[in-house]
């Protein structure tokens, strides 16, 4: 197991700003590098939920993600009460489906986003959303921790890149993800550096395919 007793040191999501989180991560047993990311901390907390049904870890995840998920749903057109209701569903799903989370294929924030998006489609459009054929990752397939860490770092870098885009470009991307643009209105050229994440996810799929044989 990657971490043991770190969850109780996160009494408040406010403390999880990066310097603090990075410093704590550096103190962890079994973690050689101090270049860990906030994303990696979320992974550790989610694995604690998965493996030990750790409620303290869940509380830390909730304090971080609940306001974001609720805000995302409200920006997507849900009224406050519906957004609260759907956010509760999303967070409960995170608890219930933690065993399906694969850190090599998505950062925790990405995974939470996909759950929130699917809940939004269900609630606001009352439509089904077909998903690609399942390629589940199971506990028996030991995840490549280095690959998972690098993916988490890539996702953080993407967030930094988004914040440096010109305002008009950034707001177009946001509009697209709040569901305000059709596919013909979406500009394919985002200006975001997606190449690294694409190649890393491609390698993860190759590894998964090899294990499935």
């Amino acid at each position: 197991m990657m971490i043991a007793h770190t969850t109780s040191i996160f009494p408040d999501a406010q403390l999880l700003r990066r310097p603090y989180a990075a410093r704590q991560a550096g103190l962890r047993k079994g973690v050689e590098s101090v270049t860990t990311t906030a994303e990696e901390d979320w992974t550790a907390l989610l694995l604690a939920v998965r493996d030990r049904q750790d409620r303290t870890a869940f509380a830390a995840l909730f304090r971080h993600y609940a306001p974001r998920v609720k805000g995302f749903l409200m920006k997507s057109g849900a009224a406050e009460a519906l957004a609260e209701e759907c956010m509760q569903d999303v967070m409960a799903t995170l608890w219930q489906k933690a065993h399906l989370y694969d850190p090599e294929r998505a950062s925790v924030t990405t995974w939470v986003f996909t759950i929130a998006r699917n809940r939004r489609i269900d609630a606001l459009r009352r439509a089904a959303r077909p998903e690609p054929e399942d390629l589940p990752w199971g506990p028996e397939a030991e995840p490549d921790q280095q690959a998972a860490l690098e993916l988490a770092q890539d996702t953080e870098r993407l967030g930094a890149a988004l914040s440096t885009l010109p305002e008009t470009q950034r707001s177009l991307i946001e509009k697209a993800y709040f569901g305000d643009l059709t596919h013909t209105e979406i500009a394919a050229e985002t200006g975001l550096p997606l190449g690294t994440i694409k190649s890393r996810l491609r390698l993860a799929l190759d590894r998964l395919r090899a294990q499935m044989k």
Binding site: R63, A66, P67, R68, V69, G71, F72, A83, E84, Q88, A92, W95, Q96, A98, A106, S107, T109, T110, V112, F113, T114, A116, R117, N118, R120, I121, R125, A127, R129, P130, E131, P132, E133, D134, L135, P136, W137, G138, P139, T155, L158, G159, L162, I173, E174, A176, Y177, D180, T182, H183, I186, A188, E189, T190, L194, I197, K198, L201, R202, A204
Partner: protein, 216 residues
Amino acid sequence: MSTIRHHLNDSLLMAYAAGSLPEAFNLVVATHLSMCDDCRARAGAFDAVGATVLDGCSASVSDSSLDDCLARIDSLPMTPRTAQRPAPRRSVLPTPLQDYIGGDLESVKWRPLGMGVRQAILPTSAGARARLLYIPGGQAVPDHGHRGTELTLVLQGAFRDATDRFGPGDVEIANEELEHTPTAEAGPPCICLAATDAPLRFNSMMPRLLQPLFRI
């Protein structure tokens, strides 16, 4: 897998990640992603963009919200917490498509369109329509244009039109500019999944007259 030459474009993948495609288009995308790891990885990158957007959102959450959520979790039935490995697929059809058909190819309720061509409309929500097409080897689909977007994903066999050849896993993205007469390659029938967000525009009288009847 490596033989797929015609992929989804970034606009469609981003719209799929954003959750703004009509259900019929989602079905084509999900089916193609099941056949194409390149596009699945690209779609994953667009999910990561969604994560950065989510990360920039915020709304106030009441103090009791966490307790409400924990209570909700306690009321949920216990589910097995192990990931199950899927059995290897033997069908031509990826699972998202099987879910819409309610089984494999032999469960499809085909309706004849004439000249041996058959179709089966799949149940999706309004905004776009998804259908399976069965085109006997060597047979052409009447030439047509498009008012909106038409996505055609080959599941079995192959077809050609003026632009190129499309084999299993390939997806053709047609818009207003494309007029074409897709023709199945000689040999086994070509089976496609097609989705349109506006009625097709046929260039000859017969298909035009039949259009309302066949809902194409």
